[in-house]
Amino acid sequence: MASLKDVKMKIGGVKKTAQITKAMNMVAAAKLRGAQQKMEDFRSYAEKFNAAMGNLSSAMDSGAFPLMEKREVKTVEILVVTSDRGLCGSFNAHILKMADKLMAALEAQGKKVTLVCVGKKCISHFRKTGKIRQRYADLMGTFQMFNARTIAQDIAGNFLSGDSDEVRIVYGKFKSVAVQRPAELMFLPIQPDAVATTTATSSSAGSYIYEPSTEEIMEVLLPLYMNVMVYHAMLEVSASEHAARMSAMDNATNACKDIIHSLTLIYNKARQAGITAELMDIVGGAEALK
């Protein structure tokens, strides 16, 4: 049996760990609130944007825009969005697993896969594959619309130059504080029907006056649409990350409490055994003196 001092030190150590995990839990909770607020702020923009986009795409024939052009798919680019930091349970692992599976499936069809990685976790995961075309680290803490724009422009550039024929996004979807799921999205070419279905509510009265032409507006809107998509994926991942970390740290704190409880039992048992042994000694000594 471990000595009293050993057990006591161990209890002290676990208590410190519990303190840290507890603090991380609270930090994650605060950051989650921030991330959710950011999502809330963005929602009205995204909704109005989609409404306008729906109006526009219904008003025009699905003209040939380079960003909507469907080509024979030889190279698929996957945009993987994960968090920069770990200690958030299996959140990143799930996303990476999904990306791995998608990659394997595409490669089995004889397609080439390139990766654009956002977040340190997926960069380190895919580093050895040598398929990373572009990486963005240290963004997920404080990102803004323009960060999303940089990424979107890069991907669009690659798509337009013909280096990739299809782009998909793999990211973590924020369902609720308790549930985050990895998700996959078709990104490029942009499908007009995908845009239209999100806007079943928009009932435009009469035809619009467009300035400049619908085509030229589309040229401006499509890249913006890409920004919105990327930004949205990043927002979801950041909210999911904090939610996942919150529950992971909560679990860790509970586990610490369990360990402390069982260690305390051991400690008390050892203490009692010590006392009993001492008493036996005293009683034995007294007997011998008689």
Partner: protein
């Protein structure tokens, strides 16, 4: 001016303005345009520049950058990448940005770099609009 129209300026960071206004002037694709109540449905892209609106006899100015606007049913919605009020604008920073952009523009022109040139032009446009809004703010 009995009839009013509802103006909404929305950015990815949230709704900046949501107000009943009399008239709005905005930097459109083909130049400045004004919108009054009962305007026909209309959709236009927005350039970086100055957005003015009048509500209750009071003039308000905003700096907006890149996006588009939609008019329908007396509702005017601006979806822009950023929108700033005069009070939020740091004049000194804008001045510095302007000088920097001008320098870059000159450099880019000297080297005939198209990419840098567009970027510098966009930056210059933003800085100039900011300064304009800040100035109008002071004047009123």
């Amino acid at each position: 001016m009995a009839e009013k129209l509802k103006l909404e300026v929305v950015t990815p960071k949230g709704v900046v303005v949501s107000k009943e206004v009399d008239i709005v002037t905005a930097p459109g694709y083909g130049g400045e345009f004004g919108v009054l109540a009962n305007h026909a449905p209309f959709l236009s892209t927005i350039k970086t520049g100055v957005l003015t609106y009048k509500s209750g006899g009071q003039d308000e100015v905003l700096m907006v950058s890149g996006g588009f606007c939609e008019v329908s049913n007396n509702k005017l919605t601006f979806l822009v990448e950023s929108a700033e009020r005069g009070t939020d604008i740091d004049v000194e920073r804008a001045m510095r940005a302007k000088e920097r952009a001008e320098k870059r523009l000159a450099e880019a022109q000297a080297h005939k770099e198209n990419f840098n040139r567009t970027r510098a032009e966009a930056a210059l446009q933003r800085a100039l609009s900011r300064l304009k809004v800040a100035e109008r703010r002071k004047a009123s």
